[in-house]
Symmetry: D2
Subunit: 416 residues, 4 copies
């Protein structure tokens, strides 16, 4: 019965359904049987996909119908020199100091570029980073009869925050309800619940807690629940509400780079970088009707997410970044470069989700951020700060490359 060939045959003959294999064999055998079935159906050889090196059972909370694994190359950049505030302690939090940041990607030149930026940041004395806002959100949508009932519902919710908080928090040992923001559109009422979910990214926690609170809303008001998510959360969509109000961590990282360093290491000037940033990241994005005012923050966010077991689909909003680059004039007339990235909705966790898988868990260990932090939430804060500095390094490096190429060609022009 647990021979993978047999199982594959049974699936092929319709005696077993493809998702039922784990009921008849251990997880690795089930994956093998499924792979065999697919190989036969499609005439392929899935040796590499089958060559994963973790116990399939460990992936049970993460996947169904497993056939193996995608292997994404992982590299290392750093050290990331960050003056963070993750723990709030006077002697420096979890993100205070130097960390190697693992990145998994297939985008050639990305790590080299980020590493170059990190080197400049280190020489400049490190980057500052701060989480300026924190709250995982879930926004159910309710149906009411019309705006009269909507107003009544909103009023009840505003008056009964404590009751709803008690219900929501009864479902979680760590989560804390911070806020409920109501929005009315015709006969729909959206309630945006925001939670402090500590070291968990927290979407599941927020969903379950909100579900509990919704039952009370339904029983005490005229509103009936249509969907636990009404898209004002907003999860895995590029929404202004996240860009403006934040989701997960809002985090900023910045650095001041002496003009000499810009010239020596980036082969350009603060003015040239500032110009490229303004024309591309600010004016260009403005004209594009964009919610993203950066060069390629998504590259760093996505690669760090893959390496550390974050939710890869949340890259959509987690990458939402405004990059600023300004030339700060000194008294001697030369300019230093002030560079910053502000990520509005970086959803990260160091517990739960994909963080427990073997390679991902090791990646978090490299950062010293595996599992819950002390105090709770500080590991996720620190991860947010480090990713932000990584994104800052990537922005610096790319914009410097653009600016220096321009300078080079300007020099050629003069040389003619």
């Amino acid at each position: 019965m647990t021979d993978p060939e047999d199982l594959a045959t049974q699936v092929r003959e319709g005696d077993l359904r493809i998702h039922e294999l784990e009921e008849h064999a251990d997880h690795d055998t089930a994956a093998e049987a499924r792979r065999l079935f697919v190989e036969r159906e499609t005439g392929t050889d899935l040796e590499s996909i089958g060559d994963y090196t973790f116990p399939a059972e460990r992936a049970e909370p993460n996947i169904e119908n497993m056939i193996g694994a995608a292997q994404i190359p992982m590299g290392i950049v750093g050290p990331v020199d960050v003056n963070g505030d993750a723990s709030g302690a006077s002697d420096g939090g979890a993100a205070d100091g130097e960390h190697y940041l693992p990145l998994a990607t297939t985008e050639g030149a990305l790590l080299a570029s980020v590493n170059r930026g990190l080197g400049v940041i280190r020489t400049a004395g490190g980057a500052d980073a701060r989480v300026t806002k924190n709250g995982m959100t879930r926004a159910p949508v309710f149906r009411v009869n019309g705006v009269a009932e909507a107003a009544e519902t909103v009023e009840w919710v505003n008056d009964n925050f404590d009751t709803l908080a008690e219900a929501a928090e009864s479902t979680t040992s760590h989560g804390e309800l911070l806020d409920i923001e109501p929005y009315v559109v015709g006969d729909s009422v959206y309630l945006r619940f925001a939670y402090d979910t500590k070291d968990a990214m927290g979407m599941n926690m927020a969903t379950i807690a909100t579900g509990e609170a919704c039952e009370i809303v339904e029983s005490e008001t005229p509103a009936s629940l249509v969907a636990l998510s009404g898209n004002l959360c907003s999860d895995k969509k590029p929404a202004a509400i996240n860009a403006v109000e934040g989701r997960g961590r809002s985090v900023t990282a910045d650095v001041l780079i002496p003009g000499e360093l810009v010239e020596e290491r980036l082969h350009t000037t603060a003015d040239a970088i500032a110009e490229a940033n303004t024309r591309k990241n600010l004016t260009g994005s403005a004209k594009a009707g964009s919610l993203g005012f950066n060069a390629h923050a998504a590259n760093v966010v996505a690669a760090a997410f893959l390496a550390t077991g974050q939710d890869e689909a949340q890259v959509v909003e987690a990458a939402n970044t405004i990059t600023t680059m300004d030339a700060r004039q000194r008294e001697d007339g030369t300019s230093d470069l002030y560079a910053s990235v502000s990520l509005a909705s970086l959803e990260v966790g160091t517990v739960g989700g994909g963080t427990k898988l073997p390679t991902q868990s090791e990646a978090l260990e490299i950062l010293g951020l595996r599992g819950g932090g002390e105090p709770a939430g500080s590991n996720a804060d620190a991860l947010a700060e480090i990713i932000a500095v990584g994104a800052l390094a990537g922005e610096l490096s790319l914009l410097a490359a653009l600016a220096s190429r321009h300078l080079a060609s300007a020099h050629e022009d003069l040389g003619r």
Copy 2:
């Protein structure tokens, strides 16, 4: 010299730089040495990260500073029953028929959900899918003295498309310049070049070709190049220009599901699903200031991207989807469900980038879409159509779950 321990020590002592290891050893040894170095620096054991099963050398175009790989669980959904138009041939293109779709993710329940949706689609006779637009874009930004020069530049570009196309296409054997759209903002001129890049995702191709054309623009007009990407491309940012005008493939998939099937398999009604879609995906997203009018298309896009070696950071715009769900009334008063997803800017390729890596390459083989298509471009078209159907299945399944839960509770209400 090629002992990894020695190399790690040399890095630690500053005799070697961390990115130079490949100059002194083969790629796997270099990765091992780097891993050893990181293990010592951080007091960790990176056994799982080191347990990758492909030759490190194959990842050379994809990563620097490699230490190993992230292993992301991969599963299979399907068959995907799609009536596509990928090849334009009367007997059906590459996406015409049934395909198993590999998905790599850490998001539990995702594959089960998509698979449920695909089952319903199959029973309903399959989904239609069409690529309605295709063009990989790159939009450099130029500096001019002012709007007078901007207008002069735009006029020259409009008058000299052929010259620019010749230059651009001289750099590529496959790519074809389709269009140059100029935009003026003050003393900045943005030219959005759009290419048919066939089976390649094509961003590099577009960048190189555009660089060549830019030299002509610079020599023939007053404009000087500031940055090869001026963010009107727009790459890896959630920009309206992509949502409106498309980037990569614009693709729609849809299906008509008989009312009986909605009830039997999804345990709800077309009306209830349509209501949930309107309140959540349309009105909710509208209120959120969103560019994404869907439930969780990013989940499917991200998982398919990881499995098949696409650029994970492009999930940002590739997931840009409008989902519609309508109850179509029949003469007998009952309703069928029309469901569709329209992805505006799905950037995919079956050659280049991460598609050559072993597990990713096998994933494309499962789909029958590895490498270049016949005719050129048809494999990438087919991949776009199949991912769209996967996203459609995910939307269907989630919205049905929301709607049926609601119906269930409505029934309870009546039962009280």
Copy 3:
């Protein structure tokens, strides 16, 4: 000296500057002199512009360099049957009942269309309307050295709301500071102050009060003020922050129209109207990357603003509306039409600004809403509710026209 001909000559000869005329003559004479000057310079006859009928002096707070007036045709629609909540009193607020709504416009057919919609609303028993949020905002931007100072500033502001409120409110007899929301982008800190400005639109009040509070922020934190408005207010720009969080009044109006009435008076069906609304106002606007999900709410808002002396440039955000139209099925299988408009950021006042000018003041009197309300704020609330019902009527009428034309042509199709 006060002969207009002489004055005009002096301006022409450079002895007087065009804006100094009021220093040498009464306002009407100054306007006449200026008109004469312009007539001579441009070879025109400005008889109509000069034919205004109010004392020029009354326009002093509203214009400089006055030459006369634009006369915009004003008409009347109504009665507007609204069940509002403007006063919060049990016996109905200021907007409870029937009102004639004056509209000034040059858009032919607009009033006819709105009037048709209002008639249907009356027959249906009137529309409900509620102000669901209220707050005039002003968001100064401060410069800090970097994110460390930004975080410090935000913390200080959060800890010292009462101090800032006291300062802000010291400048106004009516205004009340409701909230300060901080936003950090690199080395910029934005503080969004929100006020209850009662019956005044309140932008000046908010600006002055915020200016006072800013002085304290500057003296107590490292932040220095760059601009009293940092565009997160956001005034006279179409910004998601207003669409999401509101500015001025967030107001919803809705109505349930029996199916028979839809057929008799609008010559179409609830289903057809709902379809047109979904394809045009929801899906169409989604695809357009729009912040406005309506048909032509701006027409009604602009015309009501002109008639009642509101700020015409605020139409930009005041018109920001989501329109929903749903067919609500009855037990007998027929459908009623639920229609709503939700205006997120309707900035209106019944005191100050242009409301004191003669024609505008009379227009407010027609509505019974001239001057301050009892309680304070109720007149502006009522005005918001009435304008919302006007917008609802306009949406209904236009969508019905679209839907009925379609039905008509569908009938023709069948007739062929």
Copy 4:
């Protein structure tokens, strides 16, 4: 029968309907009767509203249910020194030279502010202005059975542009069809028709012409028309499609102001203005999720629209502006200020609509732009260029005020 008192009584008693009055009396008497009726119903005295000074009959195409007029104060700014390109002629187009710009507003200080900016522009040698794109759009939405039919429809439309152009242009003596851009969302097809409507704003022209073309689309493809406007036009909504692709005129105005002039006349520096612009108009608007990257362009656009008889509700998109301000360093180390405004979708006309009303017509005469231009379209182009320069002046003046206030306070700081 034509006694206004009698007519008012008949309306009150229900013998006449309020919109039928023009059938029983001349337009002025009808307006008087309606006014009397409203006065009695509301207990008001509408003397000022009734004190309009144009023949009511002239407003017939612009309003229904007329009771009089709103009188909006009108002033004059200028001369506007503009180096335009309106006519394309070598000796300068209609906007080439100096013009007085009439503005109607109730926003105190606006004209003074704009005038200050215009003075600086004149001293700097005038502003350049160019219309960089032109096309009035109308985008009907069609229903199809699904994406297969959508693709078929799009293909037919792309293949039959000439046929559709012929049909569209058969309805107009001036209009010219420039482009049809198709967009597919599920079972909806949107076709964005763009026209050169010469000196007319052209929305009606575009609507009628598109209606004609739609009939052919309906007869030749499976598509059926749902609504002549599907919101991808996009009219009177703040939509990215307009900001990106333009609607009406896309126009840029700019000026280079010597540093000395910035100091003498604006009491600040190019650097300080550039900083305020970046933090407020670029970064602030970015963080606000805005489609408007300017300070108060809507003020100038709205006031010019009211004065010259444009559609006041189109201010929503016509004000869509990106403002840039940069310090351009000179060899001596000092900086000049480059300032620009780019209005993406300025819908203006010099014929039709409200332009024929007496005061509005005179306002156009002041500009020398009343009626059709020679060549056709040049008057509307010129109007666009002049309004753009007016907006530029307003931006300059406000940003300088912000920057100088800051400088002043910085000086105080130093003085302490």
